[in-house]
Symmetry: C2
Subunit: 367 residues, 2 copies
């Protein structure tokens, strides 16, 4: 029997998704696969909450990281200014990636587990013209959740031309997210988080206005992170027509279509509410043990928990000996002081599995 | 029951590989997954036929196309000259990709199904300094096989500093290929061809000398096609240590490890010989029907067959109605005049499946 996997991704997937990942190969332009890919792309519109047909969902073989490259390669030109709101390791890495594309990146950084004050963001946005702002909805290193509606409405007010970029890797599928209502221009995620699928797919959505910029951006490089190559393919598949640029991951796209179907059939809002409930209970239980969370209550993510413990290595080993896999810290400065427990997908949704009860009991016994 | 899939990739995979693609998720740095990834990387050394420990196998979530970007981003600088030996659509696309990275690319092009004469390559190499030469071992658009030992020994003689780059997408696993003996610097392939795995992994090997260049190349962009990010990760996994940059595709890497295991357990040489036998028989049978191959006998690939037919669309539909999926032409100029049949992996190896008999009979009935 395999371990109970409760890291902040990859997460355990349902048996239907497991099976979907092992269908026999299909031709990438066959009617059978076109229907699968079309289904996945269409469902993503609902999951990302877009109401504009001109926005375009994108699914490419790759990790979440590929989404950063898509932004760097397509949505700016070398020398452009970018603003990163950093709540941890992944926010900072996104900024690093953009720098390699020649962006001049300013980083507004919070203390671990805290967020950057709105007025600081406001004055920074007023100080110069930013091509884009990156917001890591949930920084997986600290379990810090941004108040996206407040920040995005501020950006629209102060600097409406700035592209709003959201790293939704650990949020899409388990946190409230409204692409159109919040005027987001690009959101990226990965298949192995709350989308509840195996790892291996970069999943994103680009707004009509950002797409228009990307398709006319003459400074893009290469093929693989170049939307000029991918967008016609995505539009074709979504319209029900197979078109070739690079071979998609047949089995993973099939698994994604099934996992998105499960999310929508449970109900997106219900799923997000259930994630919140699971997370709140787990966090409260940990606090009752006298433990301190890395992220403050008001900005704690609902798909994972980061909590300080005296001896993280000992806790992780003790849980592993009981067949439960959690993750260690990753934020420089405090990385050896805390543990991270993922609770997305079936682990958060299906109480009968008792995943969260089991990990809580095991933590209680090992601290 | 699903169709019999006989396109030049994705190909049908064995039941063990199918199952391997649907294991429950594992933590990407868990001892269990590290062992799987290590196994896949180690087996690739044998499959690519490298004898130098300083060469490095690379497995990244992506399609074969990503390999072109890895070359463009890491192995040249903007303004460098590159030489492409083109035997079809994929050779030309590789050149296009390199151009987007600023390379000045000369293309020596063959007639469809023919190869470029060695003396032409020689005089071109003598005409200027080339940073790299790209050789598409098998161009999947025409089923044309290059005589790699002759070309690579010519390059070593005439221009030893030029990096020898091989696109082995439709060759690795079914054609003789000797990385070290032929002094190749970079070879790229994709999981869904003769490696007999689901699609979704970019698989490559870089030589020690090219790696040394790549790690000191200051003109690279981004993260996802940047070897400075990936090489430490690959070295760590191969040494049995989990290290994080971007989440690997857990299930696909497991499937790759199983498929590589099957290739090596059959015997690499035996497998290549069996592919040749299957291909020769199939091609001879088609010729006995009075059909003409796109590629000449002396340079015909062994993993697929491209053959002229009067009405390709009709043949493809007729086969599809019988549950057999083959591919159409793709080379501009002749694309509406031929069909392509893939015969890699289990379809070529396991006579008991009668895949090739079935497709031959169906073609015979429909031309």
């Amino acid at each position: 029997m395999s371990d109970l996997l409760l890291i902040p991704g990859p997460i355990m997937v349902s048996s239907a998704v497991e099976e979907a990942a092992s269908i026999q190969s299909l031709a990438h332009t066959s009617p059978e696969f076109v229907k699968i890919f079309q289904g996945a792309l269409q469902k993503l519109r609902t999951v990302f909450q877009t109401s504009n047909a001109g926005d375009q969902p994108i699914v490419i073989s790759g990790s979440g990281t590929l989404g950063w490259d898509i932004v760097g390669n397509n949505l700016l030109k070398s020398g452009d200014s970018a603003l990163t709101i950093s709540t941890g390791f992944f926010s900072d890495s996104f900024a690093e990636c953009l720098k390699t594309y020649g962006a001049d990146v300013d980083v507004l950084k919070s203390e671990p587990g805290k967020v950057v004050a709105l007025d600081k963001i406001e004055s920074q946005l007023k100080s110069k013209k930013y091509q884009l702002i990156t917001l890591t909805h949930v920084d997986t290193s600290t379990a810090t959740l941004l108040d996206l509606p407040s920040i995005t409405s501020l950006v629209k007010k102060v600097s409406p031309e700035t592209f709003i970029i959201v790293d939704g890797v650990c949020s899409i599928g388990c946190e409230e997210f409204k692409f159109s209502e919040w005027s987001v221009d690009f959101v990226l995620t990965a298949s192995q988080k709350a989308l509840s699928c195996p790892s291996g797919l970069s999943v994103s959505l680009i707004s009509e206005r950002a797409l228009s910029y990307a398709l006319s951006n003459e400074s893009t490089h290469g093929f693989y992170a170049n939307l000029k190559k991918w967008i016609p393919i995505m539009k074709a598949y979504e319209a029900g027509v197979g078109q070739y640029f690079a071979t998609p991951s047949i089995q993973l796209v099939n698994a994604l279509n099934v996992s998105l179907g499960e999310i929508l059939s449970y109900g997106l809002e219900a799923r997000i509410a259930k994630n919140k409930k699971t997370s709140d209970q787990f966090k409260n239980n940990l606090k009752q043990l006298g433990l301190t969370l890395v992220s403050e209550d008001s900005n704690s993510a609902h798909g994972l928990t980061a909590v300080y413990v005296d001896q993280p290595g000992k806790v992780i080993s003790s849980l592993k000996s009981k067949g439960i896999v959690i993750a260690g810290g990753i934020l420089p400065g405090i990385k050896d002081k805390y543990i991270r427990i993922g609770h997305m997908g079936i682990s958060a949704i299906d109480d009968n599995l008792h995943h969260i009860d089991k990990v809580f009991e095991a933590i209680k016994e090992s601290i």
